[in-house]
């Protein structure tokens, strides 16, 4: 009897100890140090910082985000990831994900992305952009394609219908410019960069049938590139002041302050255009897909796990948990509640009733239509930023008039592309 009682007591003690250990294990913090993130300014990330305590409770550590503007973020993250590796999480984008992945600077995300955060819920287009060499590398923070956003009042006053084709756009833009009243037909991007002026130029290049490479042979030095550049420079004559050396901020800023009649830009602009906090043209704006045959520029930005700062699996799991939490349905819902249109990426949110209630059916339809013409316009290769940035410099020279020979510029780019191919 005594031995039975002893055995029962020991059994109970074992069960108790085991349960306590399991509980202790279950509550062991995933992160042992604050997660360091290098990013570019995004409203969604600023909002995320309000919930630092929530992440601390979840992981055991806080996080710190360092912000740099887009071009600086690209330069700094490249320098950091290839050398010291100070950051656990990098903000990457469609233009440099191939370089980061092939260089081993970031880890495959889904290996460390907890299943309960439902990666498959992200918009399929953005998942595609986040995928390189068959693996997913980042969780999207923003993404999409292009929309034509136009001022209904300005077009009506000029008796012009919203252009449906590229030829109509080219014809309409000069008619819409009225510099005396501070209104310009269009706003383009002049500032150098594969994600800046080249990004806006590429739809013209693709619309005229251009392609970057034929196997390993550069194929871009073509009539399509010349025609695309001529069209781009022609349209630039009616582009708002400040855009000749400006990028996204300058062109969208000009539109939102009422200086631009038509703007073909990345989809987050549409959310900004209907938000009274950011737009002076609320209620005067219409949305359509880009004039045919301009393809939309498919893009995606997101968070990826750095390999140098996360030397072991535990650190990678911590970074993965941060990314999963930052891009979770709950946080995306907070961004929707804060009317941060450009920060929404999950199909469950984009197709929700709340989304339709806030942004209306017109924008929803335009987004669905533009999805059909959204394409990947850039060369999907680790060497793309190198080639794209080189063309960005030449294009900026052409836009600002420091050089005038389009063909000469393309020849120079082709020689550079041949060097890149040789080095592979």
């Amino acid at each position: 009897m005594k031995s039975t009682r002893l055995a029962a007591s020991l059994g109970a003690a074992f069960v108790l100890t085991a349960s306590v250990s399991t509980a202790a294990l279950a509550q062991a913090p995933v992160c042992s140090a604050p997660v360091k993130v290098l990013a570019q300014p995004r409203d969604g990330l600023t909002l995320l910082e309000d919930s630092k305590d929530e992440f601390k409770k979840l992981s055991g550590a806080s996080f710190q985000i360092d912000y740099l503007n887009e071009n600086d973020r690209r330069a700094k993250s490249r320098a950091d990831a290839s050398t010291v590796g100070n950051y656990n999480v990098y903000y990457v984008d469609e233009a440099n994900v191939a370089l980061f992945a092939s260089s081993g600077w970031i880890a495959p995300l889904t290996d460390y992305y907890p299943a309960e955060y439902d990666f498959a819920d992200f918009d399929p287009g953005r998942q595609k952009v986040a995928t390189y060499d068959g693996k997913v590398w980042f969780a999207p923070l923003t993404g999409g394609g292009d929309l034509m956003v136009y001022r209904k009042d300005v077009l009506e006053a000029a008796g012009i219908q919203p252009p449906k084709t590229l030829d109509e756009l080219i014809a309409d833009v000069p008619k819409l410019t009225n510099a005396d009243k501070g209104v310009y037909g269009i706003a383009l991007r002049g500032a150098r960069g594969s994600g800046a002026n080249v990004w806006r130029w590429m739809p013209f290049f693709k619309a005229y049938g251009g392609k970057w490479f034929d196997g390993d042979k550069p194929a871009f030095n073509s009539d399509a590139a010349v025609k695309a550049t001529e069209t781009y420079l022609k349209l630039f004559k009616d582009s708002a002041p400040g855009t000749q050396t400006g990028s996204w901020d300058e062109s969208t800023g000009a539109f939102l302050s009422g200086q631009v009649a038509i703007l073909v830009e990345s989809t987050p602009l549409s959310g900004m255009a209907v938000d009274p906090k950011t737009s002076q043209v609320v209620g005067k704006v219409g949305f359509l897909p880009p004039p045919s045959p301009l393809p939309g520029g498919g893009y995606g930005h997101g968070l990826a796990i750095g390999t140098k700062a996360n030397a072991d699996d535990a650190a990678k799991k911590c970074a993965g948990l941060f990314i999963a939490w930052a891009t979770s349905k709950e946080n995306e819902k907070r961004r929707l509640d804060a009317h941060q249109f450009g920060e929404l990426n999950r199909t469950s949110v984009l197709s929700s009733k709340e989304f339709a209630d806030i942004y209306g059916a017109d924008l929803g339809k335009a987004l669905a239509d533009t999805g059909k013409v959204t394409a990947v316009n850039f060369w999907q290769d680790p060497r793309w930023p190198d080639l794209g940035d080189r063309w960005g410099i030449i294009l900026e020279e052409l836009v600002t008039g420091t050089r005038t020979d389009i063909k000469g510029g393309l020849n120079e780019l082709e020689a550079y592309a041949n060097e890149l191919v040789k080095k592979k």
Partner: protein, 288 residues
């Protein structure tokens, strides 16, 4: 016979050794990298010896950057010295002691601003539609647009004006203080000889200040070589390559565009050699 003390050696050797390590290690490392073909995206490399240097002289952007750097150096140094001497003399002649102190305080403020902040402030001031610096042009021309930072002919001067705004005003304060330290007798003698004000400064005070003014010019020449932050924020070397100086192009090649750190190092080494030779020659010429 006096015993030689080992005290100077004891104090000097560790300090000089630390200085030597701090200055020589990065320099030697830059030279070594310049002889290789290192890139950020790959860990492998090989020795290419002087190939990077040879490539530089065939690179149109490098040759353009050399020319832009020379222009930048001449424009900023000359304009800074002209502004400094002009304003310094003007304050000395026109302002009383209290007003001088007020101007000194006012003129020191720009140089206390971090370069990046100053660059952002002026970048907005030069905005073609909203900028305060372009407002007079819009007012006079009835609303015509002037965008100095996107015009190849004006961009360098627009950025240089910010450099001069910071350093020219600061140097004006130094020139004023130098003028105040001069003995009054030569100036009074010149006045008794009926010399005009400009003649007093042209033939008496400024020649007396030749040595400190040359020193100021050398300080500005060295400072002008380090204008990367100003140019990076205001134009990033644009429009096109109109304001792309050597340091801007080296950074661009090393970290923004290609990740060619060896190529960028070759530029840095050439810059270092050119700077050392130029400054040595100038220094010897001034001392002669």
């Amino acid at each position: 016979m006096r015993r030689r003390s080992s005290l100077p050696v004891t104090f000097l050797v560790p300090t000089l050794a630390i200085l030597l390590v701090l200055s020589m290690v990065p320099t030697l490392y830059a030279i070594v990298i310049a002889l290789q073909n290192r890139e950020l995206s790959t860990t492998g490399y090989s020795w290419v010896w002087f190939s990077n240097f040879a490539d530089l002289f065939l690179d149109r952007r490098f040759l353009n950057a050399v020319w832009v750097s020379v222009k930048w150096e001449i424009v900023t140094v000359v304009a800074t010295m002209v502004v400094a001497i002009g304003l310094g003399v003007l304050m000395f002649e026109v302002a009383g002691p209290r007003l001088r102190n007020f101007y000194c305080l006012l003129f020191i403020i720009p140089v206390l601003l971090p370069r990046v902040s100053a660059a952002f402030v002026w970048k907005f001031a030069y905005h073609p539609l909203y900028g305060i610096a372009t407002y007079p042009y819009r007012l006079i021309t009835g609303g015509l647009i002037f965008d100095p930072l996107s015009k190849p002919g004006t961009a360098l001067f627009a950025v240089a004006s910010v450099d001069v705004w910071q350093w020219g005003l600061f140097f004006a304060v130094i020139v004023l203080k130098l003028l105040e330290t001069l003995p009054p007798q030569p100036i009074e003698a010149a006045r008794l000889d009926h010399a005009r004000r400009w003649q007093i400064h042209a033939y008496v005070t400024l020649p007396m200040l030749k040595a400190p003014l040359i020193s100021l010019m050398f300080v500005k020449m060295i400072e002008s070589l380090r204008s990367f932050d100003l140019i990076y924020v205001m134009t990033r070397g644009g429009p096109g390559v109109a304001t792309e100086t050597l340091d801007m192009y080296a950074f661009s090649q090393g970290f923004i565009e290609s990740g060619k750190v060896s190529y960028a190092s070759a530029m840095a080494v050439l810059m270092m050699i050119a700077t050392v030779i130029t400054f040595t020659m100038l220094w010897k010429r001034v001392q002669a």
